[in-house]
Symmetry: C2
């Protein structure tokens, strides 16, 4: 199954966090599996927080933001009975609101897993519940309202 971000139309694929067309960016890849979404990312050591062995808060928020909008796109397609297939152009969602609760320091040097669950959909609006884990430890939880971009 393709990554959700690899199904964004090319004009919307420049995001520093997750755009396939941004060669300088993180190129986060989110996958829809079994009704939930997941992405894995290992931040480089330079992305430390105030102390060197933890990830800075902006990275945690960034991973949630990119994974959240991808999750919204995946869930919206799934609700409409669309399978995610290579070559399709998935509608692009943008963040209206993102709340992140930092539960524990996020360690550096270990893969981080970001998970998304659909809370609800109403028209172009999708609410997503998020979590970020290091191994089995929940480091942060989040909630997002994402809105589908209107395209001509």
């Amino acid at each position: 199954m393709p990554a959700i971000q690899d199904l964004y139309a090319s004009e919307f694929a420049h995001c520093y966090g997750c755009g396939a067309r941004n060669s300088q960016g993180h190129q986060l890849k989110s996958y829809l599996r079994g009704g939930e979404t997941e992405a894995v990312f290992t931040p480089d050591a330079k992305y430390s927080g105030g102390v060197p062995d933890h990830v800075y808060g902006g990275m945690v928020a960034s991973l949630m933001d990119c994974h959240g909008t991808a999750s919204a796109a995946g869930f919206a397609a799934s609700e409409q009975g669309q399978a995610l297939e290579p070559g399709m152009d998935l509608p692009r969602f943008v963040t209206a609101s993102l709340k992140v609760d930092f539960k524990a320091p996020t360690p550096l040097g270990t893969p981080l897993t970001v998970k998304g669950r659909l809370r609800s959909i109403s028209g172009r609006k999708v609410w997503v519940d998020l979590s970020l884990l290091a191994e089995d430890q929940i480091c942060a939880t989040g909630e997002m309202l994402a809105i589908q971009l209107k395209t001509p």
Copy 2:
């Protein structure tokens, strides 16, 4: 007047977003002036969102996160009657919760101003209201609960 981040103790000054000791990071500088805080930052073109002319959401959240914790440190000192002076070690605050509402696309190629206002203080907890502007346009608003780190 010194930047708030330049008053963090050296062991807490490694943040990628704003740490004076992270030479690879953004080194955001926040200033307390007239009871409010302000930081200005111009993201490089690589930090685009889905479309190339806008800033990616993670950058907006990151700027708010670093500026918010700096604001909390500045406001807490101010409430205790402490002036911000070179050479002091300011207590370090970390984010417990950050909510960002994206009001309009944030343009690339122009300085962004992040502002902070004190909402309230209770013990080690500081609530900060945030906004991010491009020229006079409010692109995002935010609210943060920051907590002062316990130090030995």
